[in-house]
């Protein structure tokens, strides 16, 4: 007879387990473990807000203190999801306000948040501490003001790359007039000016403030004044650096930075003039994270800065760094874990992107700890990919964007199959992969065969046929998110691997050859999947064979969603159109 672990003991053990994946496994062991686990889980992560109902989550986790929610599919970042698709935070906030009043932290990504929603958050959760909104939209600075004024214990307020209706800078004055418990404030995505005096006062009465990210409207003078009041900052996002270069301004700036002895992370730097960069030299040796991705600074100035950053672990930079600059990074930044190189001219016509595959090869060779890469360039070679794979088998995230679609290996004119084969085979811990360039079905055969730990895969303009999708769906065991655009396959592979879709969070396909008939069939046969056909210009009649613009499939236990806009077709909305004979006029 099996011994049962007393629940108190189990609870104690579980208090050491933070990872939600582990907790999910724990909850599958048996009913009593499920019960104990659910009563002790404090941090809940829901990767797709439509996969489960808010009421169900609140019911299952009565001790929930922190909720992270994601809404729109990732390709919404690139304007592939029409406005009005969904991802509304309101239903969640409403349900939680009623059932989880002790909630302290809400983190939302790619969701639509309204001012009413923010006001509700402020009013409903007495001990609210953390609000992080990433790539969200739908609210104005009034909503922010509500949070600032009502949440007396607010520690973290971060607006990361949100689209906010900016009604002015008054919101800043709504923070409590007595000392605040603010640890982190990020308003870098807001446009309008805040009163510097308000900001100065806020900073002065926030002794715990460690992270502050200003918006571009904050001037250099403002920055100097803030820094002098908050020398304890560990993370700083500057405002705009574009100002007339006056000698006193420079020396003041320099002094202000040199007083920030704990600064580890630096970002912002919009419009930074190279003449101001030396003001940063004093903080470089301590920097762990540096985001220069908005700094249009040339290679020599970048190198001067970067060669002082020996502890740097995360570097985001524009391609103005050139191969030579990356060679310097490989030499001086031996602790580098993450590199992102963004294009300064993000156009298809751009042929003069100053980084090539060689830059990434340098960094792969020189930075032994490199594990995450996002790299934009015009073209690539198999040889480079093979070298990168050989040198950096510890890569966890490899996102290569060869900007020219279908670009082959420019030295041999072959597809990049061999190169990505090397990546898939060599980097055994790869969890995220984005491929580009000319790729045949073979590449995906290799990826399916070897990339056993890849959870998220992004593909564009690739492959020859259904085989590609088939290889991926039948091969990649850990696949959770697959997003595909402009690839020539559709129905067959999709239907043949339908069961796989229930093991994944979601599948996105746009501009592929998926027919309407297949979508309907899939919806009918797989009730635990939501199949959404997203067509901004749907035909008046839909023959079975007509291709759909976009299809978004995700597993769900919440059933069909009720808030779809007109341009989203689901079987639920159209039950009378079964997969049967259609008289086509």
């Amino acid at each position: 007879m099996a011994l049962r672990l007393p629940s108190k003991v189990l609870e104690h053990i579980l208090s050491f387990i933070d990872s939600n994946e582990d907790r999910n496994s724990v909850s599958l062991v048996c009913k009593s473990w499920f019960e104990t686990e659910r009563k002790t889980r404090k941090r809940v992560f829901v990767g797709n807000c439509y996969a489960v109902s808010p009421a169900a989550v609140a019911r299952r986790f009565p001790e929930m203190r922190s909720l992270t929610l994601k809404g729109k599919p990732h390709f919404a970042d690139y304007n592939l999801v029409p406005d009005g698709w969904g991802g509304y935070a309101c239903p969640w906030v409403d349900a939680l306000a009623a059932k989880s009043p002790s909630l302290e932290e809400i983190r939302l990504k790619r969701m639509v948040v309204t001012d009413e929603c923010l006001e509700k958050i402020a009013a409903s959760f007495k001990d609210f501490k953390v609000l992080v909104l990433t790539s969200c939209e739908g609210f104005s600075t009034d909503g922010i003001a509500a949070i600032a004024s009502t949440c007396r214990n607010l520690r973290v307020l971060e607006l990361r790359e949100c689209i906010v209706e900016d009604l002015g800078g008054d919101w800043l004055s709504y923070f409590p007039k007595t000392s605040t418990s603010l640890v982190s404030l990020d308003f870098s995505c807001l446009d309008s000016e805040v009163k510097i005096s308000d900001l100065e006062r806020l900073v002065s009465r926030s002794p715990n403030l460690k992270s502050l990210k200003l918006n571009p409207a904050v001037t250099l003078d403002g920055l100097v004044s803030i820094l002098s009041r908050a020398p304890q900052l560990t993370e700083l996002g500057t405002g705009s650096f574009a100002a007339e270069l006056k000698p006193e301004a420079f020396s003041k700036l320099s002094k202000a930075f040199s007083n920030c002895k704990q600064l580890q992370s630096l970002s912002g730097l919009w419009d930074v003039l190279p003449e101001y960069l030396p003001a940063l030299y004093s903080v470089c040796p301590g920097l762990i994270s540096l985001n220069l991705s908005y700094a249009t600074v040339r290679m020599p100035d970048l190198v001067e800065l970067l060669r002082r950053c020996s502890k740097l672990q995360k570097l985001w930079v524009m391609d103005l760094i050139e191969d030579k600059g990356l060679e310097a990074v490989a030499t001086y930044c031996k602790e580098l874990r993450e590199l992102r190189v963004f294009p300064s001219e993000p156009d298809l016509d751009a042929t003069n992107i100053p980084v090539t595959e060689q830059g990434l090869v340098y960094v792969s060779k020189g930075c032994r700890k490199l594990e995450s890469v996002l790299y934009f360039c015009v073209q690539f070679t198999n040889a480079a990919l093979i070298t990168i794979a050989r040198k950096r088998p510890n890569l966890k995230c490899f996102r290569l964007c060869v900007i020219e679609p279908f670009a082959p290996d420019y030295k041999t004119n072959e597809p990049l199959d061999k190169g990505f084969k090397a990546i898939a085979e060599g980097c055994k811990d790869l969890r995220r992969l984005s491929v580009s360039g000319l790729l045949s079905d073979k590449a995906f055969k290799y990826i399916g065969k070897h990339a056993k730990k890849v959870r998220m895969l992004s593909i564009a303009f690739a492959g020859d046929s259904d085989l590609m999708l088939h290889h991926l769906l039948s091969g990649c065991e850990s696949l959770k998110k697959l997003e595909i655009r402009d690839c020539p396959f559709g129905d067959t592979a999709l239907l043949e691997n339908a069961a796989k879709l229930e093991t994944m969070r979601s599948l996105w396909m746009s501009s592929c050859f998926v027919s309407f008939g297949a979508c309907k069939l899939l919806s009918q046969k797989m009730p635990r999947l939501n199949v959404e056909v997203i067509d901004e210009h749907p035909p008046k009649t839909r023959p079975e064979s007509s291709p759909v613009e976009r299809i978004y499939i995700y597993r769900t236990v919440a059933g069909p969603r009720m808030d779809t806009p007109e341009f989203v077709w689901t079987l639920h909305k159209n039950p009378e159109i079964g997969v049967s004979r259609l008289a086509i006029k």
């Binding site: 390709f75 970042d77 690139y78 029409p82 009005g84 309101c90 639509v112 309204t114 009413e116 790539s135 939209e137 609210f139 104005s140 689209i163 209706e165 574009a242 919009w270 419009d271 908005y294 963004f342 294009p343 298809l348 934009f376 964007c401 679609p405 279908f406 984005s434 992004s458 564009a460 020859d464 046929s465 259904d466 085989l467 655009r485 402009d486 020539p488 067959t492 069961a499 501009s511 050859f513 027919s515 008939g517 297949a518 069939l521 901004e536 210009h537 035909p539 009649t541 079975e544 064979s545 007509s546 009720m562 808030d563 806009p565 007109e566 997969v579 049967s580 004979r581 008289a583 086509i584």
Partner: protein
Amino acid sequence: MSYRLLSVDKEEVDISPGLKERNYLGLSDCSSVDSSTIHNRVPDVEKSNLIFKATELRLGLPESQSPERETDFGLLSPRTPDEKLLFPLLPSKDTASATIGHKNVVSGNKRGFADTWDEFSSVKGSVRPGGINMMLSPKVKDVPKSLQEERSHAKGGSNNAPAAKAQVVGWPPIRSYRKNTMASSTSKNTDEVDGKPGLGALFVKVSMDGAPYLRKVDLRTYTSYQQLSSALEKMFSCFTLGQCGLHGAQGRERMSEIKLKDLLHGSEFVLTYEDKDGDWMLVGDVPWEIFTETCQKLKIMKGSDSIGLAPGAVEKSKNKDRV
């Protein structure tokens, strides 16, 4: 273990032979894009046309032909130029018809993304609002006219640098936040940084009465009021169709019959802008170029609110906006 859904009755995808299949645009003698559904065959459908050759996306170097295709699908008839432009982006189903078992029918028939670009480079400068969308075929009514209009604009030599660049929605994959931010700082720094000439983007905020949040548009991507108006219509249609989520089904029912276009062209909403002096004016009075130079902000106002603006201009702008 895999759930085989391939065993589907052919009947389920039956197309009665007596009926002539029309594509969804209502044009006869055009079959809709060929079916490659479950059994990758719709034998009775006239595979004539235009659509296939014209709409296939083929892989290959620019200007390369793929003669093999024509022999494979001998029913294809030569395309007419207009059709080619009408449906340049619908993918040909034929290429998708390779099943697991088959030898790759598509070898050598890789999609001609580059070929498609040839078509568009011939209409360079005719960037549709928001960029040429690789995915969508143009709206039904607008198709022939707007493409022609855009072509004549192109020939008219609109010289704005960004308008001449081909664009694909969402490619390269850079967040729109980054694009917008870069664009606004590029326009400030153009001279200093690269010494490159060229007009950066010109982003202005667009707000609409009753909409929960505002948007930004880049005026440099348009060359006429017509283009701007259609772009705004697209952008804000979700509000008037009650799709902002909170209205839910009720909103949909209420508003589903009304299109923003009608609203704009009717008396419900008017497009206005704030000029350099801070005055609110009706859009459409001044020549386009002057408008782009003086416009600071755009606002879609309710008709009743715009009464204070010059009444004569209301008529004029209404007429201008009509197609």
